[in-house]
Symmetry: C2
Subunit: 199 residues, 2 copies
DNA sequence: TTACATTTGCTAACACTGTTAGGTTATTTA
DNA sequence: TAAATAACCTAACAGTGTTAGCAAATGTAA
């Protein structure tokens, strides 16, 4: 009885050791630097031992993804319970979501699969700058037309792109969980609101 | 003269051949299945020839990212020029953006780095379902409070998440191109509009 | 205490990956 | 015809995830 207990405990310890070591690697050099061999080296076990605890490398990364959702949920609850008014609750939860993503960047990236190949887009990519200009121009025009000298076009551009990109990212990652028609409705809804805000 | 011309032409042909073959692979098995060796095999050249045309594997993928931006820009222009009214232009551009992303999924993924590890989130991930419920509840409450039986909570949840996720994705990928303060403003702006729409 | 069974852990290999050094062959220029 | 250059290949380096098969330690039962 006690013997099997201890064994299970020791096995769990090794498992935690794997996760902990893996996380240190992800934090230090990013998720792409994670390697089964390096983990095995660090925990001073041979490689196949890792496979006694995890089916494959992806399963380890999935662990962090799940952990991320757990942390996020906790933060969301905490934020919600600060208020009674539902509008305030939503605002508070949005803040919590935002803070979580920024403070747990690695978690968030693994949760939603952000930043794989073709990173470093930001620097000197004329294609992106061109796109930005194209989208901004009509916004500027609309603002001018409505005598809205106060609006920050750069900000509006970001809002616009965020709505678009966010919706699409979610559709791609969580494929077919919700149908395209609904997503289109969300888009129309969001963009209508966007334009209204600019008028 | 003509000789160097032909050489340049032939070199360009090989380059195009590499890109074309690589793209076929990406379309067939996804970007993760892309392999320098497989490309070399397909174009019937040895591996180092690839490196005469591209610095590394990422450079090939970057080519598709750039191509994606070119296609998107063209679509955006096309959509814009259908209208004179800027509000209509924005709406049209949003539609074009949407269509582009759905019709050029591989391009879009490479452009913004979506869907790396930890895919297949959709299926049976209680953590995500839990999160969805948590976020939806106050929305439902707010709608009820304002006697808005018409609003689709599922839709609102998606809009909410899209704004959040989109903003954050962009911040992560295009790191430090725009400062955090601006992004926070965008968030507040978007969420305020969101709540207003729900009242 | 001995014999068997089970768990645990390892070595070594398979089949890949991106990348590059160095040499060979063919083509072009002087 | 000889030197220079470009084109191209072989073979290797240093990794990667994953697994088959074996050895040793540990537990259980006779």
């Amino acid at each position: 009885m006690g013997i099997t207990d201890r064994r299970l405990r020791q096995k769990e310890e090794v498992r935690q050791n794997i996760i902990c070591t893996a996380w240190q690697m992800v934090m230090k050099d990013g998720w792409h630097a994670l390697s089964i061999r390096k983990i095995a080296d660090a925990i001073e076990y041979s490689v196949p031992v890792i496979y006694d605890h995890f089916e494959n490398k992806e399963a380890i990364l999935l662990e962090f993804s799940k952990e991320g959702f757990r942390i996020l949920s906790a933060k969301i609850i905490e934020a919600r319970d600060k208020f009674q008014d539902p509008a305030e609750q939503i605002r508070s939860m949005a803040d919590a979501y935002w803070d979580f993503a920024l403070n747990n960047l690695e978690h968030y990236q693994l949760m939603f699969g952000i930043g794989m190949a073709c990173c470093e887009i930001s620097k000197s990519m004329p294609e992106q700058e061109n796109f930005r200009r194209l989208v901004s121009e009509p916004m500027e025009e609309l603002a001018k037309k409505n005598q809205r000298g106060d609006v920050n076009i750069c900000l509006k551009y970001h809002t616009f792109w965020s709505v678009m990109h966010g919706l699409i990212s979610i559709k791609i990652v969580g494929n077919s969980a919700y149908d395209t028609e609904l997503n289109k409705l969300v888009l129309d809804d969001a963009i209508s609101g966007f334009i209204k805000n600019l008028s």
